[in-house]
Symmetry: C2
Subunit: 199 residues, 2 copies
């Protein structure tokens, strides 16, 4: 025996495709599932079935949603002229949780990363361009991770959207709450100094 | 929006149950799947369906298998009187890969861990006891991880099986191949000294 039975190998291969899951973790998932009562596997199957059936992409902001347009795009209470552009659906939830934002969103579903083949056409950038062109957008907030991919996506969008008459902003940079000045990296500390404000 | 749509939350909850998978990883799995073409989700669903249908537990060694008895227990070429007792199916494959073992196995599906509620009755220990009692077993190899749970499971089985006339062994202890003496912990080095052999 140098391999598991085929059915086990097949499911290991499927789990192995999930982000950051290696072969060993995939094996552990399968053997965990094999130890569960059959209804547990059925529940997982049903849940996978359901996202396939029930979840679509909002034709306005491209976020995953049960409705199209999604609840945020359809809401009367949201400012339709401010768009916060994020890389992924998780970032929408993170910003929503602050309770500080009442505009709408646009989910790119990734950030630019040419070495990994993620060019502008792979992201929902055309959709953003069209949205800005056809509506009277006042402000675009570029809310990406402060890393190379995030910065270059910001740069690309800034260039792309500069012909339009709108304000383009990025998220503030500085010390994260709870972090220690002593351990802050130079760039973070430089940003915090540059963006210092009246106490 | 303080939560994802229900279908997404449901699948996050399912993935969240997998061993060592937290909420954030579970979210990433779901959004990864949502970005895949529908046939990919179907493949995963089919694979989960298949392990439920095709994989059973071998009634002799308790390992997961397509056949019952499994290929190893059914094989004419394996020594039925030597049983290597392991914690999990993955350990069977690891030992098989050495090509050095021609006996059979017994999978306990865990190790004793009273604080987490894993008592002897939760493991396939009764099945092992019965197997030893009813067959003329010559040797039991206790092949557990060299940690507290592994050692206490070994101890428990040694006590349980001592009334039978058989040899009980554990895996050799010492320096792992490729490890550095300088960084070996005291217990490993003590074991290596105790078990030193003619060069």
């Amino acid at each position: 025996m140098s391999k598991y039975p085929q059915a086990i190998e097949n499911l290991i291969a499927e789990f192995n495709k999930l982000p950051s899951i290696g072969r060993k973790s995939a094996e552990r998932f399968v053997f965990y599932l094999l130890k569960q009562p059959p209804h547990e596997l059925k529940t997982m199957n049903q849940a996978i079935e359901d996202i396939k059936k029930e979840i679509k992409q909002c034709s306005i902001c491209q976020n995953f949603s049960k409705e199209d347009p999604c609840l945020i795009c359809a809401s009367e209470n949201r400012d339709k002229y401010t768009i916060c552009v994020v890389a992924q659906p998780q970032d929408v939830l993170a910003i929503e949780k602050t309770g500080q934002y009442s505009g709408t969103y646009h989910v790119l579903h990734g950030t630019l990363n040419p070495p990994e083949g993620i060019s502008p056409s792979k992201l929902k950038i055309n959709e953003l361009h069209k949205r800005v062109k056809e509506n009277n957008i006042k402000e675009i907030i570029l809310a990406f991770n402060p890393d190379i991919e995030g910065e270059s996506t910001s740069l690309h969008l800034k260039k792309l959207l500069s012909p339009f008459n709108l304000k383009i902003t990025i998220l503030g940079r500085g010390l994260a709450m709870g972090s220690e000045l002593e351990y802050a990296d130079e760039v973070t500390l430089s940003n915090a100094l540059k963006d210092r404000k009246k106490a």
